[in-house]
Symmetry: C2
Subunit: 173 residues, 2 copies
């Protein structure tokens, strides 16, 4: 692939050659992406990071991160769920989740109640404050989802969700 081997090697600075074409920074449009755009892994990362970047901005004033939003939503739908179940869902270590849960608890968004039948478990639940904040955050999330719909034609959202789920499942462990 390297046309002229003399073109760089740390010593040829200034010699005319391939590299000399890049004296000025390339515009994005002039960059050759090679096979990257054909890789699902690459496009997935690009899309995810663009969405994540936008979402972090949108959620900043709520003080809730995208990951915490998922956690709160799961807690709302499954009051009393414990952290071991959450680790199975997220494929995160229990120590990692323990920190997230501690953070949400410190902010008064969730409560943790020891189970009387088996005192090793803590039942997690949204507090009133947590429920209220979650409503606000959910509105912002859904505004972002509607923004995505503006670049999707009818039926394409469902298609995309299905394709993404199949990719996830393909690598489930």
């Amino acid at each position: 692939m390297a046309a002229d081997p003399a073109s760089a090697r740390c010593v040829t600075a200034g010699q005319p050659g391939r590299a000399a074409r890049h004296r000025r920074p390339l515009a994005r449009a002039d960059v050759d992406f090679g096979r990257l755009p054909g890789y699902i892994g690459y496009q997935l990362r690009q899309a995810q990071s663009a969405v994540f970047r936008d979402l972090s901005r949108t959620l900043r004033e709520t003080g809730v991160s995208p990951g915490e939003f998922s956690l709160l939503t799961l807690l709302k739908a499954n009051p009393g769920i414990n952290s071991i179940t959450l680790t199975r869902i997220y494929q995160l270590d229990k120590a990692t989740l323990s920190l997230s849960i501690k953070g949400l608890g410190k902010r008064g968004l969730i409560s943790s109640t020891r189970n009387a039948q088996d005192r090793r478990y803590y039942e997690l639940e949204l507090t009133e404050k947590g429920r209220t904040l979650l409503l606000n955050v959910t509105r912002r999330i859904e505004r972002q989802e509607r923004a995505m719909d503006t670049v999707l034609k009818r039926g394409e959202r469902g298609m995309l969700l299905d394709l993404l789920q199949r990719i996830s499942r393909a690598f489930d462990q």
Copy 2:
């Protein structure tokens, strides 16, 4: 927070109620995901992290991270590119990219040549060692891509790539 005796503020431990249903950990199938599965942002994160997790395992013995793979590929396709151009592509801070580049340089995978016309620029290029390693890494990446194809029907890869690109562009700054 769970270990905190103050968690007794929840006081309902042991009382029969909603939480009592969850004395034992829920299986994943029994968890209510609420509206999460309908959010593109959520499915994107799940898919991306599943793929990333698998890839990190696959690439471990090469010593190259997924992000470094993209960087090396771009360097191969655009010999002489400089780091400012790379920051535009990746939307990463120049300080962040400087660290990645330093890492690749230390491992002898890329060379950095000062431009003689404008000595502020460094032209980046793969070394022979970098080219050889990239071939190996690319083989692994493409094996993963073929694994994804086993869950996709004819035409669906192209559809997915197109949808992901549109989502990325929708949030391009």
